[in-house]
Symmetry: C2
Subunit: 420 residues, 2 copies
């Protein structure tokens, strides 16, 4: 038994030097300052079966046996996110020249309409077990929505930190849950630094910043996206995945999920492996730029552009994202604001999915990867939509609208040309 | 076999005079002009088992055996909505003085974030079988979003008619799917009349208006909300349900769903029945007003107020809603704009659910029904949230926002009083 009950997690492991630590509220290595990651008992993971998972709830908690927390349903802090649709996208495929099966993993279907509900549910369930009494985060918007909503349902105070220039929809959807909301006059990277400093203060000793002081647990929640895709494909890993990058962590965790599924014996290792592709915006492309230059040096940028949820100029997991993409034989690219908006509209009219700017970015990059030949148009591909178009509605609101405007009479409809 | 394949539906039945018609694209009785409703083979319904349903998909289609269409998955026009969360709302209960179990059925979790995906999936699946080649509707917004998205995924042209003064979010979320969108300078009732007239024109002969010329199929989709609530409670009908009313049809269909579950032997009839409560806004309360006056005469109104998705001044199913509420021993009430906004915020901070104005209306009316003693605070109650707060964000955007604004430094945070 661990602090998290009957969990398969055993320790925290430094991604830099491999030093191990007990499961606690720690996110950096005392030896080398490298980031920590949850380590598991391989035997415990190997005991998980497809049947156990299939018998579980239609949420991320069906994979509790592969997560650090959540085996005890009564101890969860959660909106029960996950098991979102994997949508076959033949219309999109035809439009961009993909001939193999193409799917959109649509995480706008989560309770607060982004993939962040996954990581927040895992992080806050850990936070409760670790004794934290207030829930917090540094956020580009979606995380703010999710932390505030989770805290409201759990009846726990929250304090969310955001850059002051976020999209109005994301600000309102955080504030409506009635926790504290701190608008910081700076970039996300400024907000993140401030939150790191606050975790060292007495006033924030009992405050769990989901993506700072309990980040190792938080990050594990993203694995569920990979688990779900594999299960929804009939326990199979797709040949290619295209994933948006902010910190880069989502990409690395989907990749890790595929590896764990193989190690746990839940899927067969694909003969040709799988390729991981990363998407950034032109306004914030430090990881893709490093890949294009063939370097490990990720030069921080000052982000610009409409894909605000991806605007992390100093990406914490950028190096690991580079590693995963290089190891798998994938690639990264970036799209400018015009391409992002076009892709939001393309995705909507071909699939019925209205994505936020991050999903537009990923779709735009998919299109570019096909055009440049980096992505195999005949292979099976899954593209990830991580958020909802209603949250970034200003991206398209000036471009789309009524195609006709009429008075309520047949005469007016006739004059508009709708009938003879 | 019917036009809908192996469906339990057998005919269309006039709700006024009982005349029966074959399953076709017909919505009014040739004898008395009354509305038609789908009639089923009672034996076919009785053959449906809990086990069959439990083995089905986690969507409305698990109830295909109780619906007119959808048994053949390959013939569906659908975003696979349904099986949305039933959220235990202890915090809300405590805040408004409810002592019995209180649940929110949260239909903002549907693909286009309202309950309309249910009715559209059933209607358009019928429309395809009936040979229609374009999908349309008269809408107060949510229906517009859903029809446009369904058509986009199916690759079928759409033409959606809306009042020109709808909330911007709902307009953009319809237009982004790239079908035709007709803004009509008038009320929803004007739009609806216009669409009825258009169904008689040559140009619209092959156009399915989901809530006009194929309305009987459309309306059946709402039954799935009742089925789900009963299944999620462990195959039990709750003692009290509180349901928003626009046309009044949602209320009557949830009530019908409970009756059918009993007739099909899927639930035990509750010893004391169940009570149905209806919610309107003060700006559009013709059904509740008729109930309060003790009359069957529903006097049409010109709707006002922020609950635009409920703004149907001449409600088609108002009389049937009155009947259901009276028969069950329930009640109706209405809430003004201030009460609606307060209730949106109350629901958000106690449950983590961000509802649109319709959900605020229903929550506000729940609160009033408790205060007035019409609703039993010790009984089990389910309140329906039918849509998403992001769609009507202006209702709260002037009222909520950041609680602090700081520069990104510990000094600034100290001056703001967050730390010593």
């Amino acid at each position: 038994m661990t602090v998290f009950g009957d969990s398969p997690a055993r320790n925290l492991v430094c991604r830099g030097c491999g030093t191990k630590y007990p499961l606690a509220a720690q996110h950096a290595c005392y030896e080398c300052f490298g980031p920590l990651e949850v380590g598991y008992d391989a035997d415990a993971l190997a005991r998980v079966t497809r049947e156990q998972i299939a018998a579980g709830p239609k949420s991320i908690w069906r994979y509790a046996g592969l997560l650090p927390v959540g085996a005890d349903a009564s101890a969860r802090v959660t909106l029960d996110p996950g098991f979102t649709p994997l949508v076959r996208a033949d219309g999109l495929a035809a439009a961009i020249g993909v001939r193999g099966p193409l799917y959109v993993k649509d995480d706008s279907a989560n309770p607060t309409h982004s993939f962040k509900d996954r990581v927040v549910s895992v992080a806050l369930t850990a936070a409760r077990a670790l004794g934290f009494q207030r829930y917090a985060c540094a956020s580009t918007g979606n995380l703010a929505n999710s932390v505030a909503a989770h805290a409201a349902r759990a009846g726990v105070p929250s304090m969310v930190f955001i850059p002051s220039d976020l999209e109005p929809g994301k600000v309102v959807m955080t504030a409506v849950y009635d926790g504290d909301l701190v608008a910081v006059e700076g970039s996300y990277d400024d907000v993140n630094r401030l939150c790191s400093e606050l975790t060292e203060t007495d006033e924030f000793e009992k405050t769990a910043f989901v993506n700072v002081n309990i980040r190792p647990y938080y990050a594990e929640g993203s694995k569920t996206l990979g688990y779900e895709v594999a299960e929804q494909l009939g326990w199979r890993i797709p040949e290619q995945v295209v994933i948006p990058m902010a910190s880069g962590e989502l990409l690395t965790k989907v990749d890790k999920a595929f590896q764990e599924l193989i190690e746990a014996g839940l899927v067969e290792p694909p003969a040709n492996g799988w390729k991981v592709f990363g998407a950034q915006s032109a306004g914030c492309n430090p990881i893709a730029t490093a890949l294009h230059k063939g370097t490990d040096e990720i030069v921080p940028v000052k982000p610009t552009g409409i894909a605000k949820s991806l605007n992390i100029g100093d990406p914490a997991a950028g190096l690991y994202a580079l590693e995963a993409v290089r190891r798998s034989g994938g690639w990264m690219d970036y799209a400018d604001d015009g391409e992002i908006v076009d892709a939001i509209r393309l995705l909507a009219r071909t699939t019925g999915i209205f994505a936020e700017t991050a999903g537009g970015t990923t779709t735009a990059v998919l299109r570019k990867l096909v055009a440049s030949g980096k992505l195999d148009p005949d292979a099976e591909t899954v593209v990830f939509n991580t958020g909802d178009g209603l949250k970034t509605i200003d991206a398209v609101s000036g471009l789309v609208g009524p195609t006709y405007r009429v008075r309520p009479s047949l005469k007016a409809v006739r004059e508009a040309g709708l009938i003879d």
